[in-house]
């Protein structure tokens, strides 16, 4: 009986020692991965990697290289590019990524799945603000041009360009003058309804300003 007891206690101590060893190896000092691959990245780094892929694609529209970059995150055949991007989008929304970044990630998902998931922007307050600014600035230029600018001696100066500098006018007096405007920032997802751009094959009568000022707007005085 004594021998049997010793044997039982021996086994129990092995189990206790094994538990202690596993606890140490799994929790206290787990094996740190070195020389790991991209698919071993922690989930937040994977999310950022997908965001970088989306940012690069948003600029170069190179679908092939975007797919190649996403493939590096696939550890096995069980995952797909779509699942990787979907998981990244969910985590990004959970992490509170800003809407511009999320938009790019959704756009990346669209090119993978072929399905449109990004909401179509129906109201862009930025564009309306710039339109108002531009219209106000244009009206100011028209009002100023009606008053001849006196020179130092007080004599009015005849100016062949009534709109002064910084404004381009067409040679056709009947056409609406075009304002040379600073293009707005790249509004991601904004679809410019203005089909006619300077330099395209359009007649001078159809030309409109870059921000889409209606034709003849400035010539309606």
């Amino acid at each position: 009986m004594g021998r049997f007891n010793r044997f039982v206690w021996f086994i129990i101590m092995i189990i206790i020692g094994g538990g202690a060893g596993l606890y140490y190896a799994w929790y206290v000092k787990p094996a740190e991965f070195v020389d790991a691959a991209l698919f071993n990245l922690r989930s937040d780094y994977k999310t950022d990697y997908v965001l970088m892929t989306a940012e690069i694609y948003a600029k170069d529209h190179d679908r092939l290289h975007a797919f190649m970059r996403l493939d590096k995150l696939l550890p096995s055949n069980s995952e797909t590019r779509e699942s990787v991007v979907e998981d990244a989008i969910k985590r990004a929304e959970g992490f509170g990524y800003n809407p511009v970044d999320l938009q790019k990630m959704y756009h990346l998902k669209e090119i993978i799945t072929g399905e449109r998931t990004t909401p179509t922007p129906t109201h862009d307050p930025t564009r309306e603000y710039l339109f108002e600014q531009t219209r106000t600035a244009a009206a100011e230029i028209v009002r100023e041009s009606s008053t001849p600018t006196p020179n130092v001696n007080g004599d009015p100066v005849a100016d062949s360009n009534p709109f002064g500098t910084g404004v381009i006018i067409t040679t056709d007096p009947n056409a609406a003058p075009m304002l040379e405007l600073t293009p707005a920032d790249d509004w991601y997802g904004y679809e410019d309804p203005a089909d006619d751009y300077p330099g395209n094959n359009t007649s001078s009568e159809d030309q409109v300003g870059f921000s889409g000022i209606p034709e003849g707007f400035l010539g309606d005085n």
């Binding site: 101590m13 020692g17 094994g18 202690a20 140490y24 190896a25 691959a37 071993n40 990697y49």
Partner: protein
Amino acid sequence: MAGKQKKRPPLYLLTGLIIGAALGLFIGYRIFPVQFFDITPASLHQDFQEDYLVMVGLAYHADGDIGRAYSRISEMMSPIDIDRLRAMSLRIDDNPDTHSNYEQIRSFINDLQTYMSDTGRR
């Protein structure tokens, strides 16, 4: 003549504990090691760190955000070693898969160095 037998310490208990601990460590490190624990870009293989550098550089040229690029590179090496980044960029240049990105990466590293000296970051 008969004397008390010396009581032997229960060495078998200690032996069992040591054998068990060795088994536990062997299983925990070799057979079933922890997977995907705290994998940061700093733990990536050198080749994948170069891929990561290419990604950060191209993303910087896409959005122009040097601060964000600095944060991303910091996850790969801290403090940032510009010389080491330049050495990586030379390997990027030698690699036929990433050779076309070399100029952009070189430009990014220059901008990063300027950003770090302007802001006093390391």
